[in-house]
Symmetry: C2
Subunit: 451 residues, 2 copies
């Protein structure tokens, strides 16, 4: 009954059911996603995918935006490309109880559909968004960690289903159609950890958005599927994980709101290394005050959760994307620049000789006794000084969230770089007030790119 | 090195490397696929998918055919819809060493690309097709049966990769690009057995074709991915199966040709029940000679491989698609009609009261000692007569293949029903002589549908 439970809950959900913490987090999630998508278009993958996709669609037109550009395309291309852009910086959001980055697959699909099927009100958009995010995160909990440990990228494997639920709700599917949509989405399992550090990682998110969207439109057109895609013996949960409790997790829909556990990344890289970065930036600031120089660093260490080395043990990153999965690279840039923003993950910085020299001095040990949001970091200097920091909770974790101001600054910094400060302010205004809109489909027209 | 091995072998493969048994089987596979795709368009899923897809692509144009219609669409839609149509009847082909139906994902992608990037010669088309089929089948062997037993639909899970290899070869990717294409394809794992009996099963094949095609075009445009998508710790083989020997299987590329083990279905339903159908049709023929009536049947039995009940234990099918996975339905129609063609799998026949009455008299027992291509069937009549048949090798198995005439008749029967006898003959002529064509992209224009 899991599939039916999810579908019926999603269809029954109304904006008036959402408490203020839920809508507030939904709006933050949506504008954080939009900022990442607009900013992320600057990196190659989204543009390459857009070019490949449009070359295959002769003379087509569309009214769905590629965020951060003035391009309008068909709904599936928009979902794909915005999804790629929103994840390419690894700067998006993270569900506190799993490594699911919830907004990318759902919002990338929904915004495209809101533009195609205007008018969609802000209230309806947010309600559908919450339904999709709850679906993803409940499913994520139901199969985590086994599913992730074996190698699936849980963001996109659950994201296809989240996107189908959200789009299906927006399209007004009936119960059986939404069950079919969930089934069609469930058999498209997108994303493996082997792609991390390559263009294919953000493709997971875009393709999940696009695939879930297609599942919903197929079901709307009468395309059939299983009614039990999630729980059947040969269905999603059993096939993708050695352990699952989908039915139990879905029974908490509407009582435990997963979206309230969403967190936002302060650094554009895998969140598993955020605690160490946080600590190394603190050491950078202390060193500046003490007048200690980068050149005098003898040794850099971190004692961290074992998942850090499982995901980011890359001594020799070649590209900016690669470097997002290198604990050594982030150690070097945090100590040199005192920050870790998209500017520290360019191909140029990765090849910078000062960065490389310091990267080689970083040594990391895994300790099961250290939590995923915790890190013990230290730096030893030639003069014998040793600076140490114990980060108990990384910045951006649920215990130490970004403030509203930090979130806004993050948005403006990313978006200004792509479309200019004036348009960035307009974009922030539009997305942060999305709840009041009567036609979300018009949103991208409020901040056209500076040319 | 598995991914690199597959990519480099595929790129090096030339038409002149293909022995006569290989090219002969490739041509049969291609025309059997085309017959299934043209005939399969008569069932709802392909048309529903075409309608859904084109509604999402405003004012687009294209020059890729939907087989069995006069529609021309973009390359991705053609791959999707032809793939669906080619598999919806469960009448396509089967690799003898696995349950992989090889042609659908590969040919559906390739024909669309041959129309987009004309001219593609018949020799190049066949060479790319063989590369894709070898990729699918080697990967299938490498993870079978564990991967299938857990619930994956092995045709589409390997098919995405096969399509990427075939299209990548046709597009002239370089080695690294083809490795990227394989990686992008590998992380799109499409198809679970829970969909069997629904519209979503043929969607697996269409979506695999489309997803592999997209992977190849993305890589062609410079989209990056892992170089080790198949063999990496968190890559395809380890993630989708508890056992795998991808490297060992790929080492036999070019020495053992999987395509020579392709077989063609004589009955439009799961091949696991073909042996029993074969036997029941033989009993039907004996009964006719003896003047025994359907109404006098007391009991129908089959002793079969346990996989029969695992896949087709459906006592109460509701639709024609459902009935393709009902050993009871096929028993009834084989005994009533003396054949099992698409005409015995319509919704009307499934609801026919004579069929239902006889279906309820069919009893099936699983026996591990019976092979997948074997069946012991029997029918008891009211007058005490008992007719028994032991099918050692089902018609259509590698030991008892369809003859060239049977294959041609199968093609003409399916295709005539959709586009008329004259066009069917023209279509057979075109596809069976594909090796001599200088521009495969023109093939569909040789048999336009009668209107």
């Amino acid at each position: 009954m899991a599939t039916k439970k999810l579908a019926s809950w999603a269809l029954a959900l109304q904006f008036s059911n959402l408490t203020q913490p839920v809508t507030e987090m939904a709006v933050k999630s949506i504008y954080n996603w939009a900022g990442c998508a607009i900013g992320g278009y600057a990196l190659p993958p989204a543009g390459v995918a857009l070019e490949a996709q449009t070359a295959l669609l002769p003379q087509h037109s569309g009214n769905c935006s590629i965020l951060g550009t003035d391009a309008f395309v068909d709904v599936q291309t928009a979902a794909l490309v915005n999804g790629i852009a929103s994840h390419v910086d690894d700067y998006d959001d993270t569900h506190a109880d799993t490594p699911v980055h919830p907004s990318g697959p759902v919002a990338s699909a929904l915004l495209a559909v809101a533009e195609l099927r205007a008018p969609v009100s802000g209230a309806d958009f947010i309600t559908a968004f919450v339904a999709g995010v709850e679906a993803e995160c409940k499913l994520g909990i139901a199969v985590y960690p086994e599913h992730y440990d074996i190698g699936w990228h849980i963001t996109s494997t659950t994201g296809t289903i989240g996107a189908a639920v959200a789009v299906g709700k927006l399209l007004g599917l009936d119960l059986e159609q939404l069950q079919h949509a969930i089934s069609i989405a469930s058999i498209q399992v997108i994303g493996m950890r082997d792609s991390f550090g390559t263009d294919t990682k953000p493709f997971h998110v875009g393709r999940a958005a696009q695939s879930g969207l297609l599942a919903a439109f197929l079901a709307k057109n009468g395309y059939g599927g299983s009614l039990e895609g999630l729980e059947a013996k040969y269905g999603w949960a059993h096939v993708v994980s050695t352990r699952q409790n989908v039915s139990a997790e879905l029974s908490t829909l509407g009582s435990t709101w997963e979206i309230t556990k969403n967190t936002f990344k302060p650094f554009p890289c895998d969140r598993i290394i955020h605690a160490a970065i946080d600590g190394w930036i603190q050491i950078h600031d202390q060193a500046v005050k003490k007048g200690l120089s980068i050149d005098d660093i003898k040794n850099v260490t971190a004692r961290v959760n074992p998942m850090v080395l499982s995901l980011t043990d890359n001594h020799d990153p070649k590209t900016g994307l690669d470097a997002k999965f290198s604990v050594y690279h982030v150690g070097a840039v945090a100590l040199i620049y005192g920050e870790a923003t998209p500017a520290q993950f360019t191909d140029g910085v990765v090849k910078n000789s000062t960065v490389i020299t310091l990267r080689d001095k970083v040594h990391v040990t895994a300790d099961k006794g250290v939590s995923e949001h915790e890190a013990f970091v230290a730096v030893e200097y030639a003069n014998g000084t040793k600076l140490e920091v114990h980060v108990e909770q990384a910045l951006g974790s649920i215990e130490k969230p970004l403030s509203a101001k930090q979130l806004k600054d993050k948005f403006l910094e990313q978006v200004s770089a792509q479309i200019g400060e004036k348009q960035a302010a307009a974009a922030f205004s539009a997305f942060s007030q999305i709840a009041n809109m009567t036609d979300v489909g018009k949103i991208a027209r409020q901040f056209k790119r500076q040319t």
